[in-house]
Amino acid sequence: MDDLKAIRDLGDDLGHEPPASLVRQRQRLVDAAGGRAPRRRPSGWLLIGVVTAVTAALILVPTVLLRGGGEPGGKKDLNAATAPAKPINVLIIGSDARGGAVREARSDTLVLAHLPADRKRPRLLSLPRDLMVDLPACGRFPARRGQLNLAFTLGGAACTEAAVEKLSGVRVDRTVTIGFAGFKTMVNALGSVQISVPRSVNDPKAGLRLAAGRHRVNGSVALAYVRARHGLGDGSDLDRVKRQQRFMASLAREAKAMRLKSPVRFAAFLKATAGAVEIRPSMDFTTVKRLAETAETDTAVYGTVPVRPDRRDFNRLELAPSAPSVFAQFK
């Protein structure tokens, strides 16, 4: 037997493939290179980190195509039949949780994201929080009719997931929960994001004061902007949802510009995002890798589920008859 070949074979047996956590060493380098003090991170951040990197790539980075009306359907090109991978549905929950106070937390924003099997056209569907739905029994709470966002208050991401699944008939594979602090962190990691307000705003309740025109805003102002219900638009939740979609589009453009200009800073942004959200359940390596390698991020479609005033309470909303056909695109 050739001695060098024997040694090479031994090496193949002894060697290991680089683990995900090698990224920590990269950060060590970047911190040192940037002259920053090394940061200690909680163990396990990486797992969600990479999942979030992928999620962010798919959901935040695309230059989101805004659709004004309530019908996001129209043309779809899912190509599911020809693609090898499975489609994935992610429920994104923006909550007003501060710190660990989940009990009193409400979900402010709900977006159902669909990554088709060919990963080519992610679809993002906003679900208004005022939507009246039949909430399934969850934990110690019995089934009842209520606002969609009540599910989060009662039982967090798990109950919200169950509620959305019941409402839509769509299987939810992952939930991504982001709180106020996380949202600010994300925007601040980008530097700032541009927003445009049609007329001057003064909403003391949201802590928002802006003159008419374009502004570059940091995390705190951005948060007030996406949450405000007074002084902007007609004060409805639907109007707020549209504003949030515009903001996400702007955020996505910013992130994309950064990705092209400085991949290293973009990686730092993804990491900041990673630390700012909670994903359940975490994804296995193969899934994540395949997602990252196959995702096409320039063709996302954004819409709002079709709704109409609730017949029992005209201050609330219920699904419009066309809603099932929209949800069907997520199956």
Partner: protein
């Protein structure tokens, strides 16, 4: 998952970001833009990790690879930009850092005399015969590696596990190519002797001369 991130960033480049620079260009650029050095990490950290994980195991490898790039970053001013390929340079730094662990490295090889190596069961069926031979020689091989003087082992493993050419090993260790050849020759002779020299013709005849 590193692969995922790397692949992701690679896709980002395809989308119109700055194209691929040579190693020397990256190092040169990193003086003005220190974060350019991270691209060198993306390029070579996985390879260096595999190499170190063979010699010292996965527990040490991760930190050592990180250390390697910190050292490299600190010394980048001394890098000879005439060398377009940074691998020998990086392997040279790795080798010095591995030397700090020479006791645990030897212990690792000696441990192989007793325990079977993981992953053997995953071999394809048609490689079973080869595996039988391999598992028979492994304890002998491991013993021989453990017994080699560090300098000879460095050369042998940079060639066998690092896939460096003789010239590149010379660059990495800062020694003439002739010295690389003689150390390699000596190391391989000992390894063959440990294997029982079952086939004296299997080696490179030029080295036997």
């Amino acid at each position: 998952m590193v692969a995922a991130v790397t692949a992701f960033l690679a896709n980002a480049r395809v989308a119109g970001a700055p194209s691929v620079y040579g190693d020397a260009e990256l190092i040169s650029r990193s003086h003005a833009d220190p974060e350019a050095f991270a691209e060198l990490f993306d390029r070579y950290a996985p390879m260096l990790y595999r190499y170190v994980s063979r010699r010292l195991g996965p527990e040490v490898a991760e930190d050592l690879v990180g250390e390697t790039f910190l050292v490299a970053f600190g010394k980048r001013g001394k890098y000879d930009l005439a060398h377009p390929d940074a691998r020998p340079w990086l392997f040279g730094i790795v080798t010095k850092l591995v030397a700090r662990h020479h006791r645990s490295e030897a212990a690792r090889y000696r441990a192989l005399r007793r325990s079977p190596v993981d992953g053997a069961v995953e071999s394809p069926a048609d490689a079973v015969a080869a595996m039988v031979t391999a598992s028979a020689v492994r304890p002998l091989l491991a013993e021989a590696l453990a017994a080699l003087p560090r300098r000879d082992r460095d050369v042998l493993l940079l060639v066998a596990w690092g896939d460096l050419s003789y010239e590149e090993v010379g660059q990495a260790l800062g020694i003439p190519v002739g010295t690389v050849r003689s150390r390699l020759h000596r190391a391989r002779r000992k390894v063959r002797a440990a294997l029982g020299d079952t086939n004296p013709l299997s080696g490179d005849p030029r080295e036997e001369a």
